[in-house]
């Protein structure tokens, strides 16, 4: 689409231009975010009652999600069919009718135009011409699909249903975490000074975790030397990585040896208040960390008992909003809730094992200025993008590009 020709090495090389070029970015908004992809809209439980609504985005396009009178969830572009005003101004609320403040055109919760103020004019003067058909002027509707209490939307008619889009393996991995009726413990958001794809690469990057996040290695929460692996979906843009058996501190010596030369290792550190790292077996499979992504911009995280959804919203070619929704489950007892709240110190903008991810993308963005024609190197674990029972690999990042390139014609 844009003068760029992809390097012959395929997915193990990425031109830095992909993170800086305004044309690429404009193309993505259209071809990826308004294209054949599923994007997270909300939790079913965020809209319990008819008339509940919240607003979000497909890329930079504002979207309304509602719970209709029919009890179903609907989604539409948040742009009035008259002169383009935002129909919903609040981030969330409850209403019978979606009424645009500009000229009071009113839509039902499915986005159908119901009334046009002064449509017939006043005293026989003014008003809309007879040729105006109210049914031709609804809000633009999204396709909506559900999975494990999560709601996704798309503007594409061609993309397969969500379950098919993610495939069985990834589906099971989502189900594993969403094992109950979710309750929102809180939300937060970060502004990242980098292209959205640099954050996605970071999420899929099983290689960096124990190296960049020295807290991980230092307290032996997760190390590459601990068992684990990465699953890559049939649609290679979807992935799930996992760490196993973190809690049994097997052959510490060995693993320390492996990390000995690596700066990310610090010795002799221990917590004055260890409650932070106390965790409870919740999933019955001894998987202590699972990071999962659905192409293009949704992340589901489980770190011990800390569970969070992350939505990655592009805000320009070198700015990104990272939204966090922290979850518990309805049947959590007080102790479990407290555990989740304490473990939330591990993640988010101030997270012991995530704060670096808020900055590293911006470092890359700054470093590649003036090097748009250079290439990043993605050869860890080879050149392909298949599941593997190691995390010492960049396979799932290559999988991301494998899914991304055809959409962009690259």
């Amino acid at each position: 689409m844009t003068g760029v020709t992809w390097p012959k090495e395929g997915n193990s090389r990425v031109p830095y231009r992909m993170f800086t070029d305004p044309e690429i970015y404009k193309g993505e908004l259209d071809r990826v975010f308004l294209g054949p992809t599923w994007q997270f809209l909300c939790l079913e439980d965020e809209l319990p009652n008819a008339g509940d609504y919240k607003t979000t985005f497909l890329g930079e396009t504002p979207v309304i999600v509602t719970r209709g009178q029919d009890g179903q969830i609907h989604a539409m572009v948040n742009r009035c069919a008259h002169r383009g005003n935002l129909v919903c101004l609040k981030r969330q609320g409850n209403t019978d009718l979606l009424t645009c403040v500009y000229h009071s055109w009113a839509y039902d919760l499915d986005g159908n135009l119901k009334s046009v103020a002064f449509r017939r004019g006043i005293g026989g003067k003014g008003g809309m011409p007879d040729t105006f058909k109210i049914e031709e002027h609804g809000l633009r509707k999204l396709r909506v699909d559900h999975f494990a209490g999560l709601v996704f939307g798309t503007l594409s008619d061609d993309v397969p249903p969500f379950a098919e889009y993610i495939g069985n393996q990834i589906g099971e991995r989502i189900g594993r975490v969403m094992h109950g009726k979710p309750t929102v413990l809180g939300t937060t958001s970060q502004i990242l000074h980098n292209n959205w794809k640099l954050y996605l690469e970071n999420v899929k990057d099983t290689y960096h975790a124990s190296l960049l996040h020295t807290f991980f290695a230092t307290f032996r929460i997760s190390r590459l030397s601990i068992g684990g692996g990465v699953l890559i979906g049939e649609n290679s843009g979807n992935h799930a990585s996992y760490t196993r058996g973190g809690r049994k501190r097997a052959d510490r010596a060995d693993s320390d040896k492996l990390y000995a030369d690596i700066q990310s290792n610090r010795d002799g550190l221990s917590l004055a208040d260890p409650r932070l790292l106390a965790s409870k077996e919740e999933f019955g499979d001894d998987i202590t960390v699972q990071i999962l992504s659905v192409f293009p911009n949704f992340v589901l995280q489980q770190i011990n008992n800390s569970i969070a959804l992350r939505l990655v919203l592009p805000k320009g070619r070198n700015e990104t909003e990272l939204q966090w929704i922290y979850l518990g489950f309805e049947d959590d007892d007080a102790e479990m809730t407290e555990l989740r709240l304490l473990q939330s110190n591990l993640v988010g903008p101030a997270g012991y094992v995530s704060m670096e991810d808020g900055a590293v993308g911006g470092f890359v963005q700054r470093a590649i200025a003036g090097s748009e024609d250079d290439l990043s190197v993605l050869e860890m674990g080879g050149h392909d993008h298949v599941s593997d029972d190691t995390r010492t690999t960049e396979a799932s990042i290559r999988g991301f590009w494998q899914a991304y390139r055809p959409l962009m014609g690259l």
């Binding site: 929102v184 939300t187 937060t188 958001s189 970060q190 502004i191 550190l269 004055a272 101030a350 704060m355």
Partner: protein
Amino acid sequence: MTPDEVVRRLELEALYADYAFCLDNDRLEDWPGFFTEDCTYRVTSAENFEAGMRLGIIYATSRNMLVDRVMALRKANIYEPQRYRHLVANLRIEKTQAAPTGAIAVTANFLVVRTMQDGAMTLFAAGRYVDRVVRGGDSWKFARKDAVLDSRQIDTLLAIPI
């Protein structure tokens, strides 16, 4: 305003000045000392706070957790050199509160400007402290401190406490 109230107000203003000085001048090791041993410290957003959601961006339920936070910032976490400048003002002592010896509910407004090593300054945080202070020996300590940020968004990351 009684002479005692005068002194108390000025002592509390001094407390917030000392607290800000500690964070703004890289004296992080002194920071836990402003809290009681069984304190609760939380950085949260007005959105979460007003929705009664307990989650914090930082959430600590003991002074030792603050000690651990400082240790991690010094030894484990990686972030660019940066400094804060706190402006704390509009101190309010809830009238309904007991004698200076008892616990006092205090609120104050703050701005935090963050400056990076290259000189880039940003208005990093605005919000209010919703605190409970107690008399600890000859000084005041925070039994509870909620730094409630007006914004739900954090620029890049939050390393140094608020």
